[in-house]
């Protein structure tokens, strides 16, 4: 099994270099070969980790040791093999999708680079999860950050991409900085870089380590308020890359959080509340921000924040229940959170890939310019619908299966016998329920505006169904969505958890029967079909401009949450005459306030710019000034040395 895994890894490495060494063949063939190698490597890795996960075997193997402390090694236990299977499976489908997707847009050279970086990115994510040493962990963590950054900068000429790139790069380094702090703190007290459970840390240090871990992984996972890079980065990246980033890379951060907060350090009660609070805020704000977004990929990115929020809520509940010794709700919330991690990876990459197909077909990301695509791209529409249903947590799909577990865990909180905690739980539950409803509303908007009605622009009218290759990957994921949902009870008890989870199989069979009967009845007793023009309030010629728009759909919700959006509506009119009866010009605007960007990120950035300007002004000087600096430094050193020694 180890051999299988390692050969998979080496196939991935081969796929990295293949596009470059196979220069003789035309680029397309080289890319195909590289992707085939990537696919086979991922198949090996996924099989190996699935075997490991199902058999519950542990395996540790040293790969290379730089010094006795700094080593690269792999360690499979149930947690890491679960995440590796997840990464392997979703990456497999994404790679399948990439076969045709990669051939559109960009220059020949960039496509080659994209093909080469893709396996590197996937391999680094796998190795981060497999690492058993903090050094190896950070090493691959950084490779993951850098390769994803390079992948994201595919359209690097665009100002939008550059802004997103800088945002992402700064944020990811910011997060890594905190990881360094946390790891060095742990090393300081354990004297080893191995990732293993320890209780050597004093209480205060442990708290600091947790905060650093939370900020570090939270930045990568996109927990609010560290989320701002996510919508920017996901929207400008190529769709297969954003599928990987959103579907898989965020999960690596979740893995890190689980591993370091729950396994290496023993959690305390207040950590649970921190996770719960940040998770709830992320889930709620994520979906609220998603509602007003009209950029299809940004909308999905905000939903990633929401779903990461759900996962973090699950982890927080686990800590709280675990502290009070309630085993069933604790397991329920942990398994729910991890199951949701898997589910989110599946349906979010499905949605990103189908969104990528749509964007490629229409040439725009603005959903206001789409519409009517269900007739042009029927298969993509069905796949997107399945993803939407899953992410909106409609039974019997997988999103429902995992969210219900977290709901159940919430409902078990009456057993806690602590009024304060119970009140917190009830507030959290209410926010959680609101979030679920809003998510459904958001995807009604997304699906409705993108696929239904008539095309709103000429590009949307000319869209065509994408090729088979770009449907196969999402189709596998859509099928997985259904399987994971319908057989959720069987899967969870098969793994060995005896949890009070609803058995969805009979429900789905019932549902299917009802649909079949209804369809049959409809077919038998349908009224004769009459085709005519929709009544358009008497207007003779109807245009797509009269359709219900995304802005119109989300307007009531934006108005309800105007406190969060800080929406400002302005309506200016100029008139020709003094009686104000003939309008010359009107301008109406609805602006929303980007709270995090304008109140937190930008002031911070300005502060640093000021410091940087001050320093650069101080250091762009002549020789004399530098000598003064050196002189003053030497005198100060002398004085401090004299005081200390």
């Amino acid at each position: 099994m180890e051999t299988l895994f390692l050969s998979g890894c080496s196939l991935l490495l081969l796929a990295c270099v293949l596009p470059f060494i196979a220069r003789i063949t035309p680029g397309k063939t080289a890319r195909r070969i590289a992707l085939f190698v990537l696919l086979s490597g991922l198949a090996c890795i996924t099989t190996a980790s699935l075997i490991c996960f199902l058999s519950g075997a542990e395996c540790i193997r040293l790969l290379y040791s730089l010094t006795p402390e700094l080593v690269f090694d792999i360690h499979f236990d149930s947690l890491s093999s679960f995440f590796i299977s997840l990464i392997g499976f979703v990456s497999f489908c994404t790679a399948l999708y990439s076969f045709n997707y990669i051939e559109h847009g960009g220059t020949e050279k960039r496509r080659l680079v994209l093909t080469a970086l893709l396996p590197l990115f996937i391999l680094s994510m796998i190795m981060v999860v497999a690492a058993d040493n903090m050094f190896g962990f950070l090493f691959f963590w950084e490779i993951m950050s850098i390769s994803s950054f390079l992948l994201m900068m595919y359209d690097r000429e665009k100002a939008e991409t550059q802004k997103a790139g800088i945002f992402y790069f700064v944020m990811t380094q910011f997060g890594t900085l905190f990881l360094f702090i946390a790891f060095l703190l742990i090393y300081r007290y354990t004297n080893t870089f191995d990732i293993k459970a320890t209780d050597a840390l004093p209480q205060v240090v442990k708290s600091f380590a947790f905060i650093a871990i939370f900020i570090g992984f939270g930045t990568k996972a996109g927990i609010i308020p560290f989320h701002k890079w996510l919508p920017y980065a996901h929207s400008v990246a190529p769709s297969n890359v954003s599928a990987l980033m959103s579907g898989v890379m965020l999960k690596v951060a979740i893995y890190g959080l689980c591993r370091f907060a729950f396994d290496v350090l023993q959690p305390e009660l207040w950590w649970g509340f921190v996770l719960l609070a940040f998770g709830t805020v992320s889930a709620l704000l994520g979906v609220i921000y998603a509602l007003k977004e009209h950029d299809l990929k940004k909308l999905l990115a905000y939903h990633s924040i929401e779903n990461i929020g759900i996962i973090v809520v699950g982890l927080g509940l686990y800590v709280i229940f675990n502290y009070y010794g309630l085993e069933i709700p604790a397991n329920l919330s942990l398994v729910g959170a991890l199951f949701h991690t898997l589910n989110h990876a599946v349906f979010k990459s499905l949605l990103f890939m189908t969104a990528g197909s749509v964007v490629q077909a229409t040439g725009t990301r603005n959903i206001e310019k789409m519409g009517g695509l269900v007739k042009k791209m029927p298969v993509t529409a069905v796949l997107f619908l399945i993803g939407s249903c899953a992410i909106s947590a409609l039974p019997p799909l997988n999103g429902f299966a995992s969210e219900i577990m977290i709901f159940q865990a919430y409902l078990e909180s009456f057993e806690l016998n602590n009024p304060v905690v119970e009140i917190v739980m009830v507030i959290g539950l209410a926010a959680f329920a609101l979030m679920s409803a809003l998510a459904a509303a958001c995807f009604v908007k997304a699906f409705g505006v993108v696929f239904l009605a008539k095309p709103r622009s000429r590009e949307a009218g000319k869209a065509r169904e994408v090729s088979f290759g770009m449907l196969a990957g999402p189709a596998i994921l859509a099928l997985t969505c259904i399987v994971l949902g319908v057989f959720s009870f069987q899967i969870i008890s098969g793994i060995g958890f005896d949890l009070p989870v609803p058995n969805m199989l009979p429900v789905s069979i019932l549902l299917l029967l009802i649909i079949l009967i209804f369809a049959g009845l409809l077919k038998l007793f349908h009224a004769p079909v009459r085709i005519s023009e929709t009544w358009g309030c008497g207007i003779a010629k109807q245009t797509p401009a009269m359709e219900y728009t995304a802005t119109g759909f989300s307007e009531p919700i934006v108005t309800i949450f105007r406190l969060i959006f800080r929406t400002k509506k302005s309506n200016e009119k100029e008139y020709f005459d003094s009686a104000e009866s003939i309008t010359k010009r009107t301008e109406a605007k609805i602006t929303t306030f980007k709270f995090f960007e304008e109140r937190i990120y930008m002031p911070l950035a300005h502060l640093f710019m000021k410091i940087a300007a001050f320093i650069s002004q101080k250091h762009n000087k002549d020789l004399e000034t530098f000598m003064v600096y050196a002189f003053v430094t030497i005198v100060l050193l002398l004085v401090t040395a004299g005081f200390w020694l």
């Binding site: 002004q617 004399e624 530098f626 000598m627 002189f631 040395a641």
Partner: protein
């Protein structure tokens, strides 16, 4: 071997002379006398090395004295005088950051600071006063050389500052740390390089670094705000 008290007196006297020359270097405006004072300072150092050779009998010290006399009191001043003949500058009247008077004041304070903190650092060497004083004055001299570098404008004077710094290092090494002779030689080679470079700069660009800046600015090599 000479009498210990006499040795102490001679050494102390030489220290005073060195401090005097240092003060003169800081304030002197005429370039010719600046070079002469530098030569005199190096000569005093050489004398000090000879005195110490007589006291301790280490052959190294004699070599150092010889090297100092040949290079620093004869060759470098001669070379500098030569350079001076060919450039239009005869005096350095420009000061930045510090005027000569405040330079003197600051160097006085500096010697106190160095003395105060150096006694803490030196530890068990406290009872050997000439050695300790040598270290203190060596460091102060090096710092004063640095002050010359940043407070004087002309390249030639800056090079004198650098040479003074080196003298401070030599003084320090005479008393506090036994420097291998080879390092001494290497330092002297460095000095020669500095002098040659200073000459090139002085010839090429009218002897002030500011003009050098402007030229580089025009070329876009030196980025200034």
């Amino acid at each position: 071997m000479i009498d210990a008290i006499l040795f102490n007196d001679i050494i102390h006297g030489l220290f005073v002379l060195i401090m005097g020359t240092a003060a003169l270097i800081i304030t002197q405006r005429s370039l010719t006398s600046l070079f002469n004072i530098y030569a005199a300072q190096s000569m005093i150092l050489a004398v000090m090395a000879i005195v110490m050779y007589i006291e301790y009998g280490t052959l190294n010290l004699l070599f150092i004295a010889l090297l100092t006399i040949i290079v620093k009191t004869v060759f470098i001043p001669l070379f500098l005088h030569n350079v001076l003949k060919r450039i239009p500058v005869k005096r350095d009247l420009q000061f930045s950051f510090l005027s000569p008077a405040s330079s003197i004041l600051i160097s006085a304070v500096l010697i106190f600071i160095v003395y105060f903190f150096f006694t803490g650092l030196a530890g068990d060497m406290l009872d050997d006063r000439p050695l300790l004083l040598g270290g203190v004055i060596g460091i102060s001299l090096a710092l004063m050389g640095m002050m010359i570098i940043f407070s004087r404008k002309k390249v030639i004077t800056k090079s004198i500052g650098y040479l003074t710094m080196e003298n401070g290092v030599l003084l320090f090494s005479l008393f506090m740390a036994e420097m291998p002779f080879i390092i001494e030689v290497l330092i002297v080679i460095d000095l020669l390089m500095i002098i040659v470079l200073a000459a090139v700069l002085a010839f090429g660009i009218d002897s002030s670094l500011e003009e050098f800046h402007k030229k580089l600015n025009r070329l876009g090599i030196w980025i200034e705000d």
